[in-house]
Amino acid sequence: MKLVWFETVKTFSRWRTYIGFSVIALIVIITEVVMRLSADEILYRMLRSLEKDFLISGNVLNGWFVTAFIMNSLHIHIPFLITLVAGDMVSSEATSGTVRLLLIRPPSRSRIIAAKYITTLFYTAGLVLFLGLLCILLGMTLFGSGDLIIHHYGRFGIIYLEEAEIPVRMLLAFMAAIWSMMTVASIAFLLSTLAENSVGPIIGTMAVVVVFLVIGNFPLDFFRSLKPYLFTTYLTFWQRFLDDPIPWQQIGSAAAILGLHSILLFLIALGVYSRKDIKS
């Protein structure tokens, strides 16, 4: 626990750690302010098809909708911000030379690497929660609350979620988003144990995510057949908490697949780092 605390102190003493938080704050604030200013246009574009046949009243463009909208838009960018820290977590010790002070201490490498991994997960959770809280708080301030009208995941359809049940669903969705991002963080962490600087792990992780996303979305049968085997297919499983009814079984299997990825990646990182010769 002490090691985790030290890693946390180190992580949050570096300005790099706050890049992610700053970028998220900037994006969320700009997006929500622009959405507020363009509310009429967004509502029109959002509802123009429905408004032909339905009379729609109530606060459709509300804080919850804005949160879901930003989450949808940012799920490709958040991994990048996570890799900034996760990819640097182990490699920075090599870059700065502090690894030579750290690994000659009594705690085993396994404990040190576990502490670093836990800290990486804390950071990941913190970043996603920060995004969620900022989206919701600013969204509620600018747009107010209301029921959530959202697209049904993966198939045609509209879902209407009552305001009362949204907070719990959002909480679950953000927990799931954290779970997804932990897999991305685990990739960056593994690459970080292999590298001597943070550039490689950051670029490497993003390359993996982007390539897997492209392969998974390529409109050819061969690539479609690969989709179930790509972890990126499950990264957006948090959205399923906004489905009605909540597809628990699919959520469970997606969470299990991502969880197994994370565990496996961590175990590889552990194995690699425990045997690694520190030459730097």
Partner: protein, 224 residues
């Protein structure tokens, strides 16, 4: 010669039928002529494919000829066609009317009329109405255009001197194009889809002729 006779006979029959059809709409208009406005609580139950929503409640305000307003604390969806009871929309001057059938509906005398809008720029779809000609009630309506089809069945209750709906069951078959704002990453490109299903609307707590002012309906929205 007999051919001309038959033709004249049919023409006369058609003219009489046309007169009857107009008379039915006229009777309907007269029946509700004293209705100046109404307010009603509605509860909407959706049973539509691709539209998962709980029952919704709202207060609906209506003032002839076509002013309407919905008040709801929550997000509220309400079918425009058929959801709002508006007996004033079937003005005899606005349609070419054909009597399709004289019939019995719920053991009462009824007629089936087809209404073709005269101004097709203003109104694109035609209507088929089943009118109870004993109590001058629209019992069923069916409207269709190239794009959409709406069918409604109306049940009535008595509120003051007016027969007003207590329940309307709508069957919808509508086109739907999702907007990009509602689509997430990784979804296939949106293709036009249809929304089909049933909407059941219950009406309660009518307040009739309470003197709703025009201002409360606001000015029509300008859309970009």
């Amino acid at each position: 010669m007999w051919f001309i006779y038959v033709l004249l006979l049919f023409s006369a029959g058609w003219a009489f039928a046309q007169d009857d059809a107009v008379r039915y709409l006229d009777a309907l208009e007269r029946k509700y002529s004293a209705l100046k406005d109404y307010t009603v609580d509605v509860r909407v139950h959706f049973d539509m494919e691709g539209f998962n929503a709980p029952d919704m409640q709202a207060r609906l305000y209506f003032k002839p000829p076509d002013k309407m307003k919905v008040e709801s604390k929550k997000v509220f969806f309400f079918p425009k066609e058929g959801g709002i009871f508006n007996p004033f929309m079937f003005k005899k001057e606005a349609f070419d009317i054909r009597l399709l059938e004289e019939m019995t509906y719920d053991n009462r005398k009824a007629v089936k009329l087809k209404l073709y809008p005269k101004d097709t720029k203003k109104m694109k779809q035609s209507f088929v109405l089943i009118l109870d000609i004993e109590s001058h009630q629209i019992r069923e309506f069916h409207t269709s255009s190239e794009e959409k089809e709406v069918k409604g069945v109306i049940e009535y209750g008595k509120f003051k001197e007016f027969d007003l709906p207590t329940r309307i069951e709508l069957h919808l078959d509508l086109p739907f194009k999702e907007s990009f704002e509602m689509r997430e990453f990784g979804q296939p490109a949106a293709v036009p889809q249809r929304v089909t299903g049933k909407v059941e609307i219950s009406y309660s707590n009518y307040r009739v002729n309470s003197g709703l002012r025009d201002e409360m309906f606001g000015s029509p929205k300008k859309k970009k």
